[in-house]
Each structure stands twice: as structure tokens, then as C-alpha cells.
Symmetry: C2
């Protein structure tokens, strides 16, 4: 009955950040499986009346312990609401219930020529992705959830049902009143339960080309990224792997990429436009010392090529069998990336930590996949201190402690440093005005 991933998802953060969360993160008192918005609303009203915390649960893939039941309460598992409701092919939009995952939607859409591009790797629920403001490898071209949600149906703490852009509305843009949609996107279950999301869709690209390129230094890889963006190449994916990550991927997938900073790239477009995109990019990368530029057009070769990137998490874990992983998530202005990555790699080495780096470099966002032994309390402590140092390094460089995973449980103190008391005060008063009893996912974000 109890959603499967729950404990494992909470454990990730628990292990790293603090033993004491482990006790806090017990299972909720009850798990409910509503089948429609009316049931969600009725259940929320009961919780409201009895002051029971409400923890929305999508697919439990979140990386920041967002579904932990810190104060017990009722877990709303939304997986039984799994209908794709309206595909409007000519309008490039669709409405989904909260049990619909990214992959389920895209296979549903297969015959329409359309797709939903935001791709955080995990096959998460789309409403969970909205709740965490997810993004991933495609964001550099297609934007994050912030740019791709047109409307949300939300059940508030008191059980009332609200449509953030008005019921059933789906204009591609609007200037009608406050932007409630983007207040709920990224609110991590602390303001309401998302029971429907209307999303933007895109035409499936006529052709796709993938490429891999090796660099002599982090600086050279990042410079190439900046120049590619400056040249206006509408690149769809541009992913960075450091030498340690490439090495791990080689071992995990029996590959033989040069063990140096590497970019994985993807281009979407028409056959003709791709030739030009690839040519320009190849010119830019080689001017920056990039070598071994390999590109792939057919689906099989592309899939093999990207498998290395997609398996990064597991490849990292395989470096130390029996260990657990936790991903950091800083994001900085592009020009600061070489600096922070180089400093971070030195920090990892100095502290004897395993943390291969993979990042959505077109957005200035990268992750150290920290692989650690959960039973080694000294290592847990060192990893924890490292993650805080890394976040503060990003803050000092005008960046953020979370580019895409959210705040959840463990980054609340960092969020306060990042925002300052003024903005935190505003967030707090928004929370109080929408959830005065603090029942919605208490102990998260704020």
C-alpha cells in the first residue's frame, strides 16, 4: 500500500545531511489513493478539519526528500489519477492528471507528431515535475517546467479547488492578473496539491543528430558552450561530463571515450539545418581545442552514444559497489562555470571524496554525483560539509544552490542564505496566506 520509492527517495538526502532526519522521516500515518479531484478535495477537507499534514506524492523520484512525512500525516498518492485528458494537436497543448508520467505522455502522443520535451532523466509524474520545477537535458532549448506549464488545477489546504489560469483556459500567453501558475510550479507540495496540468507541446523534430567531443580542459569545454550559444546555434542538448564521469561511464558501458572533459551534444531540426548546426559547432569546438568529434545520425548509434550520459548515475554508483548516491545541484552564470568546476574538483580530491561531475552546461547547472558509504559516519559528515561548501561557492558566484532539484528538506538553510531575509519574508507570507495551518508538506522549502 505504501508507495514504493518513498523510503529510498528520502534516504538519499537523509544519509548525507543529517542522521536526525532519519528519525523524522518516518512513513506517514496514512496513504490515500484518490481517483479524482473531488476525492482529493474531500480528503483535503478532512485533513484540514483534523489538522493533519498533507504530503503529495507523484512517483517518488524527487532527489531532495520532498515526500518525507516529517510530522506524520496523510500521503496523497496520485498515481490512480492517470488519464491524459485533452490533446489539442493544432494548439500544441495537452492536459494530464497527476499520475501521468513523462514517458507515458510521450508514448500516448506518438501518433500526433508532437512531444513534451522536458526530460529530467527519471520517468517522473508530470505534475511532480511541475511541483519541483524540473528541467534536465533539454532545458537549454525547450525551457524548464516554468516555461511549459499553461495552467494547473490545484487543491488548496482547505480543500478548495483553484485553476491557476482560470478553469479550462489555455492561451499560449496571458497577462491576466498575477501569475499563479508559476507560483505553484516549484512549490514542492507546500502550497497545494496539483491535480491537473496543462502543458505546451512541440513538433517532433524532423531529424536529430547527436555528437560527442573531448576537450583538453574544463575551460575549453565551457568556452565552446558559450560560443555555440553566441553563434545562435539552436542546440537542443549540451551536456558536460568531467574526466572522472567519463571514466566511470567507460567502465560501466564498456566504452572508450578519451578520459578528459567531454561534451555530449544533440541537435534537433530539419536535415538541412542540422548539417549547418553540426558544421558550426564542429568549427567552434575545434577552435577551442576539442578533438575526437564523433557524430551520429541514425537512432541506434545515437541511443548508444547517449546511453553513456543517461547511465551516469548508475555508472557513478558502480564506482563503489554497495554505496549510495546523492546529487548536488548548483547553477551559476556560464562564465563562472570553469572556476567553480575546477575548484570543486580540487575540493573533492583534497577530501578524498568520490563525486563525478555531469552537468547541463548550457544553463550553467552541474551535479556532483556523490557516492558514499552510508555506514561510514565520517564520510557522511565530509560529504555533507562538501555539499554545503559547494553550494556556498555557487552563491558567492551569483548562482543558486539548486538549479533544478528543489529545496526539499536539506537545503532550507541554504535557501535562506541565497534569498536573504527580505525575499524569505515574502515567501513566508505567501505560504501563510495560502496555507495558514501549515498543513501542506510541512517542513519543506521554508
Amino acid at each position: 500500500m505504501w508507495p514504493e520509492h518513498h523510503l529510498s527517495s528520502v534516504r538519499g538526502i537523509v544519509l548525507v545531511f543529517n542522521r536526525k532526519y532519519f528519525e523524522q522521516c518516518r512513513p506517514p500515518d496514512v496513504v490515500v489513493f484518490p481517483r479524482c479531484v473531488e476525492e482529493v478535495s474531500a480528503l483535503a477537507k478532512i485533513c484540514y478539519r483534523h489538522n493533519l499534514p498533507i504530503i503529495p506524492f507523484g512517483t517518488g523520484t524527487g532527489l531532495e526528500g520532498g515526500v518525507g512525512a516529517l510530522k506524520g500525516g496523510v500521503c496523497f498518492s496520485l498515481r490512480k489519477m492517470d488519464q491524459v485528458l485533452d490533446v489539442h494537436q493544432e494548439d500544441f497543448d495537452v492536459t494530464v492528471e497527476p499520475g501521468v508520467t513523462r514517458k507515458a505522455l510521450n508514448s500516448y502522443l506518438r501518433d500526433t507528431g508532437l512531444w513534451f520535451p522536458v526530460d529530467p532523466g527519471a520517468d517522473a509524474s508530470l505534475c511532480g515535475m511541475a511541483a519541483t520545477s524540473a528541467s534536465g537535458t533539454n532545458a537549454v532549448h525547450y525551457g524548464t517546467m516554468r516555461e511549459n506549464v499553461l495552467n494547473l488545477e490545484v487543491v488548496l489546504a482547505d480543500g478548495s479547488v483553484v485553476h491557476t489560469a482560470g478553469k479550462g483556459r489555455r492561451p499560449r500567453k496571458s497577462a491576466a492578473g498575477y501569475n499563479l501558475t508559476n507560483l505553484f510550479v516549484g512549490s514542492e507540495g507546500t502550497l497545494g496539491i496539483i491535480t491537473k496540468a496543462t502543458l505546451r507541446l512541440y513538433g517532433i523534430p524532423e531529424a536529430v543528430v547527436s555528437a560527442v567531443c573531448s576537450f583538453p580542459s574544463v575551460q575549453a569545454a565551457v568556452d565552446s558552450t558559450v560560443h555555440v550559444l553566441q553563434a545562435g546555434v539552436p542546440i537542443a542538448r549540451i551536456e558536460f561530463l568531467d574526466d572522472v564521469m567519463v571514466d566511470a561511464c567507460n567502465k560501466f558501458n564498456s566504452l572508450s571515450y578519451p578520459v578528459t572533459p567531454t561534451l555530449f551534444l544533440e541537435f534537433h531540426g530539419t536535415e538541412d539545418s542540422l548539417d549547418e548546426q553540426v558544421r558550426t559547432t564542429e568549427e567552434i569546438t575545434s577552435a577551442n581545442g576539442g578533438a575526437d568529434f564523433q557524430w551520429a545520425r541514425d537512432e541506434g548509434t545515437r541511443a548508444r552514444l547517449w546511453k553513456a550520459r543517461h547511465d551516469a548515475w548508475y555508472a557513478a554508483l558502480a564506482l563503489r559497489p554497495g554505496c549510495k548516491a546523492y546529487a548536488t545541484d548548483v547553477c551559476v552564470p556560464l562564465s563562472r562555470l570553469p572556476h567553480i568546476i575546477v575548484e570543486t574538483k580540487e575540493d573533492l580530491i583534497q577530501n578524498g571524496l568520490t563525486g563525478p561531475i555531469a552537468g547541463h552546461v548550457g544553463d550553467g547547472n552541474f551535479h556532483c554525483i556523490m557516492v558514499l558509504d552510508p555506514d561510514d559516519s565520517d564520510e557522511v559528515q565530509r560529504v555533507h560539509q562538501f555539499t554545503e561548501r559547494l553550494a556556498r561557492r555557487a552563491l558567492a558566484l551569483e548562482g543558486t544552490c539548486t538549479g533544478e532539484h528543489g529545496v526539499g528538506l536539506g537545503k532550507r538553510a541554504l535557501l535562506r542564505e541565497e534569498m536573504g531575509p527580505g525575499a524569505m519574508g515574502v515567501m513566508q507570507s505567501l505560504k501563510e496566506s495560502l496555507d495558514p495551518k501549515n498543513l501542506m508538506n510541512p517542513g519543506k522549502v521554508l
Copy 2:
């Protein structure tokens, strides 16, 4: 002392919507010209202490009477804060004070190879554009202000200073806490005074091609738009003009475009990619019955071609010398456009009204530029009724009463119809929590 455009900008809406607003929209009691955020804050504190309304004033180009001093109070004219503060060329971002206009920024950027694309026609202040969630002709490709603001410095009603993404922060994406930036974007001066905006910039395209194409029907023009978007052509501008608008532009600019539904298009990219974009678009438009496809590459011809579109407002006014204009602003899902445009044209004819149509058709957004005699109270009344009917028609088609101009003074009742009581309640409680004394631009939006 008193900002120039003030009365004229307020009059637009006043004339159309209701005589009684005319009395309400008197000049504010005082106009202040702060030179820095500290002065804005100090002045706001005085207003707070004495319960004086605060009306932020950018360049006064707003179309919905947003700067009217309904309850008197203090107008904060921000034009003396006119510095471009930080251009980060490699990071594609810039920070501006509230007196900096769109054109001023772009001429400042000229030597950097970068530009800020959001273009609402008027040379408005960028912070005013943020305040109204402006967009315009480029939005189909570059997004609206919602997608292009990274951070805002805001002075709240009580004089406190808040940075919506944390002070000085400018990562290209973030999942850190509630999205305060997009709460203030589009808040029309009712939640705080924007004293700084950090904006995304883009590489100036290597080449630009413009085109004009005539169609046998509204349906054919809209179908072409949908097909161009489906084909993944990264079109930068796709603007619709109805026959009446084309006729007005012909007369105003001594041109001779066929008097039929027409698309004005613009493509941004590299020389090679433009050839392909234009070719694909020409194929699509001619398959939909488009004719007289004219395209222009050199700057002079392009400028002449777009002049017709840019002068639409004045061309409309010239249809009836001595009259005033008011622009409607509905936005609907793309597939609904032919239906609503055809019905709206019939409505105009039946009621003997002058309202040529121009629209950002790639977003589903169009304007009737209503030209009317302000002293003819019967006509004023008929125009008012027409604009309400048009808005309700958009609402019935799952659209919005304002795609980009905002709610201001005259669309508050329509906003309530659009959002429903639930979402209005949320907006109201956000307003109360951030501005409990209702001092920020009272009587607007809500």
C-alpha cells in the same frame, strides 16, 4: 513636473469604458522623481506611514490606464534611475534601472553582439514592461517578459527592499523556493515598485529575412501559421493583418498590398538556415492558398516592409481624423483564431464600428484597434459593449481577455469572469499579504 503621457494614456481606456473613470483618474497629489533605490524606499516608507497610495510610473505607454491615480496619492516617476548597470556578455544577461527603455538598452548593447528582443512596439521602460508582462511581435520565438526576467529588485509597500531571486543572483535557471520573480512580473504596480531588473540577452542574429504573404481567408492565414509552427520553423515574428488593416496601412504608407488577410513574417538565423526557413514557409503558405509572397533581405527593404506593420496604430487612427484609439487584446488557442476573428469582424460590421485587426498570430493573440469619436457617447457605449462581447467570446473559447496589455483599470470585472472565484481569492490573499494597507496602485488588477 507631471509625467507627460499620464493623462493621454489614461484617457484611452477612460473614453471607452466609462465616463465615471474620467473623474476618478485625476492627477496624483504629488509626483516624486527618486534617483536611487534608497530614495524609493525612503519615500515608500513615508507613504506607508501616512497611508498614501503609491503609483509607479515607467514611461506611461501602458494601454490599460495602469498609471491613473484613482485615489490620489504619490506618483513615483522612475525615469531618473536610468543606468544600465551590468552587461555580462558571456552570461547573456544585463541589469537595468527602471528608467532604461527597450531602445536605450539595445543601443547601449550595440557593440556587444547581444540584444534584448521583447518588443511591444512602444519604447517603454523595461521595468514597466516587466510590470505589465509585455510581449509583442517577437514573443513567438523569444518568449514574453515572463520568460526573460531573471531577477527583480522590488520595493514593497512598507519600503522594504526585496530581491526576488536573492541579491545579485543571475543563474539562467533556478528551483530555489517560490518563483517570486514571476509573481512581480505582470503585477502592474500593485505589489511593489520594481527598481532593478536582470534580463536575459540573446546573440544578434547573423541574418534576418522578412516576408509578406496574402491569403484568400483568415482560415488560410491561420492554418499556415499552425503548419509553420508544426514544421518546427523557428520563426521570429508572424503577424496577422486583416483586410481592413491592410487597407489602412496601404493608405497611410502609400503601399499597394492586396487588400486581403495578410501575414508579415520574419526569420532570424544564419544565411543558410534562413534559405531553408523561407523555402519551407513559402511551400506551406502556397499550399494554403497564400499568394504574392514577397521577401526582403537587405535592411532598407525590410524596414520599409515592416513600417506598414509598425505604423498600424497610426494608420488605424488616420482612418478617422480627430478620433481616439483603444486596442482590445484577447488571446485564444491557435485553432480558435479563425472562428473568433470571423465572428468579430461580423460584429464590427453589424455595429458600424471601425476596428482594424492586427495580431501576434503565432501566440493566438490579436488586437482590434478601435477608432472612435470620444465625444459621441453613443459610439463610446457601442465600442464598450463590443469590447466586452469580444472578451467574453475569447473566454468562451478557452482564452483570455488580455494576452499582453494587462488588466489595469478596465478589465477587472472580466478578470473575475476569467479566473473564477477560487483563483481570484488566491490573488486577493497574495495582494493582502504583500500590501495589507492596499497602498500599491490601488484600484488596479483586482
